[in-house]
């Protein structure tokens, strides 16, 4: 492929390879130099320093200054490690365009002369230049995205971030201006009649650049948004600091009575809270089942809690209200029975009465209560009643007497 003077080519190759090897050989010390901004000369031998300077890797910007990396080498490292503090963006398109025009001319000339090997070489160089041009944008866009996605995290303060964002926006404008310099009509003209050139300059470059263009616009939009966010944050921080300072200085400060203005500012229209409460609806028959379930699931009340009470009330028994109420009802019914006996005067069977009044008491309990009531009467009143037990032995072998019924009558009449 290289019909150039072969000795020059091989010379270039040897020197280039040698100097690239120098970079590798001293990689640690050089990288330290990149970070420090100057080279520690004691890390190198005299001969090595000379070689590095001759290779245009190191230079001394000024007699008084320490050795440093050449700007191009720094830039190479910055681009390789995406160090946004040092990365350079090259927005110069005009120069590249000029080179492309010249190459096309040289290529056409060579073809015209029939010097195909030279033409081939020119086409190769032209291809490289077109790729360079596209790559230049790609590198710039990569750097811009990188800065955006890290929220400009490579600088510490918000002020610095704002400055960096503004710098990025300027670079972006230069890149867009550069893209505008590319006139596709001119490129189409340049490529006229040659399929190689048309492919390279028109179809390929055009699609690449138009995608760069849309990327740049997207980056621009995001940069503007981010800058607005930064500014908002800055304003907020300042507002907080300054308002706090003001309130500290004026502890008695009282703002106007906004809530009672005729035109209430919406911000201060903060209503009192309403906490909705709900209870079980007992009127809804269809929900009985669910309610019953709920009630069943209620935690049971713990049994009798025996509180420590003084010994005086020690014998007091715990009473269930329901049982007490039933007992009272029984007592009342029995009293009614006695009153009936007094009213009617005649003999009255307890069980008949129970049946007649359709009372729900168990007959045994009923009889017990009547006897109990009789026993509880004062002696003189007891004599007013004649109580007669209707008894029978439990069985023929058991002499235990069972009370079958009781009949009560007024003694006065019996007498």
């Amino acid at each position: 492929m290289a019909p150039l003077d072969s000795t020059i080519a091989s010379n270039l190759f040897t020197i280039g390879a040698e100097r690239l090897a120098l970079l590798g050989k001293h990689h640690k010390a050089l990288m330290q130099g990149y970070l420090d901004g100057f080279i520690d000369e004691t890390a190198f031998s005299e001969a090595a320093l000379k070689k590095l300077i001759a290779a245009r890797i190191l230079w001394r910007p000024d007699e008084q200054q320490a050795l440093a990396l050449r700007p191009l080498v720094s830039e190479l490292i910055a681009s390789m490690v995406a160090d946004e503090n040092r990365r350079q963006i090259n927005a110069d398109v005009a120069e590249k365009l000029e080179q492309i025009r010249n190459r096309v001319q040289a290529y056409r000339d060579a073809q015209y002369k029939g010097d195909y090997s030279v033409a081939e070489l020119q086409l190769q160089r032209l291809t490289e230049q077109v790729h360079d041009l596209s790559g230049q944008f790609e590198e710039a866009i990569d750097s811009l995205w990188h800065r955006l996605n890290s929220d400009f995290g490579f600088v510490a303060s918000l002020d610095d971030k704002i400055r960096e964002n503004e710098r990025a926006q300027k670079q972006l404008r230069r890149l867009l201006d550069g893209l505008d310099l590319l006139d596709f009509n001119e490129l189409i003209e340049l490529a006229e009649g040659n399929s190689h050139l048309r492919k390279l300059l028109v179809s390929q470059l055009q699609s690449q650049l138009s995608s760069h263009h849309s990327s740049l616009l997207e980056v621009q939009k995001r940069l503007v948004e981010l800058l607005a966010k930064f500014r908002q944050q800055q304003a907020r921080s300042l507002l907080i600091t300054n308002m706090a300072a003001f309130l500290r200085q004026h502890p008695k400060y009282q703002p106007a009575d906004y809530p009672n203005r005729s035109e209430l500012p919406p911000l201060f229209n903060q209503a009192a809270t309403i906490v909705p409460k709900a209870a079980i609806a007992l009127d809804n028959a269809s929900e009985r089942q669910i309610l019953a379930e709920l009630v069943r699931n209620l935690p049971r009340q713990q049994g009798v809690i025996l509180t420590e009470t003084p010994s005086a009330s020690f014998s007091q028994q715990w009473q269930d209200d329901v049982i007490a109420a039933r007992q009272q009802a029984l007592k009342t019914d029995v009293e009614n029975f006695y009153l009936r006996v007094i009213d009617h005067g005649g003999k009255l069977s307890a069980l008949d009465y129970l049946l007649q009044q359709q009372l729900e008491w168990d007959s045994e309990i009923w009889l017990y209560q009547i006897i109990a009531e009789y026993q509880a009467l004062p002696v003189d009143e007891k004599q007013m009643f004649a109580i007669k037990r209707d008894e029978a032995p439990a069985s023929s072998t058991n002499q235990l007497l069972l009370i079958r019924d009781i009949s009560l009558s007024l003694n006065a009449q019996a007498a």
Partner: protein, 206 residues
């Protein structure tokens, strides 16, 4: 309306709804149709939806400003004014303690432990926190840093400025109510022409 039941309940209970506290609810509230429906529903309760300046947080206000409503608003306003300085100082303290380059905004997370650790070793931060914790708004009775910080964060959670996603984990997310607070401050500043600047000086811009 049925689908918004729980949301209505939260609003009625005085909650501020933002993208952080409940993203779905916030999206619903941002729709004009839903706002309309909710306002219609709330009408008999004399309530309506209110949003801050940039619609980043919603809460309930009165529909009609009756005498009772005005009274309630007055006492609410007094509370808000009282809470301004402690809240601002807290914002400053967090920003400085955590070494942030900007003020807290909705969605920022704060790890309580980190806050405690950084305050512990710094005498001046420690003192400021001590003072802040004993402010009426935070009302901490404790002398211990850990308890003071917990009390401060608990109060901020109660007031809706912070959200604690897991009850057993001590990290908090700043809610949109902070935006509301900033809006209130900006409003008072503008109305009263207070000498409180929020644009950087020319030097800072260059």
């Amino acid at each position: 309306m049925l689908q918004h039941g729980p949301l209505l309940e939260r609003l009625l209970a005085g909650e501020f709804i933002c993208r952080i506290t409940d993203e779905d609810a916030f999206r619903h509230l941002s729709a004009e149709q839903t706002q309309h429906e909710i306002n219609h529903y709330l009408r008999p309760l004399n309530r309506r939806l209110v949003a801050n300046d940039d619609n980043s947080v919603f809460f309930l206000g009165y529909h009609e400003l009756s005498k009772d409503a005005r009274e309630q608003l007055s006492s609410q306003f007094a509370l808000t004014v009282q809470s301004l300085l402690p809240l601002l100082e807290w914002l400053q303290l967090v920003q400085e303690t955590l070494g942030r380059d900007s003020a807290l905004t909705a969605g920022d997370t704060i790890k309580l432990q980190e806050f405690v650790l950084r305050t512990e070793d710094n005498q001046s931060l420690r003192q400021r926190l001590n003072q802040l914790a004993s402010d009426r708004f935070f009302n901490s009775q404790s002398e211990q840093l850990d308890n003071q910080v917990k009390q401060i964060f608990r109060r901020l959670k109660e007031h809706g400025y912070l959200l604690q996603p897991h009850n057993d984990r001590q990290y908090y997310i700043v809610t949109g109510k902070i935006d509301y607070l900033i809006d209130v401050i900006r409003f008072i500043r503008d109305e009263e022409h207070l000498p409180v600047d929020d644009t950087p000086t020319q030097e800072a811009l260059i």
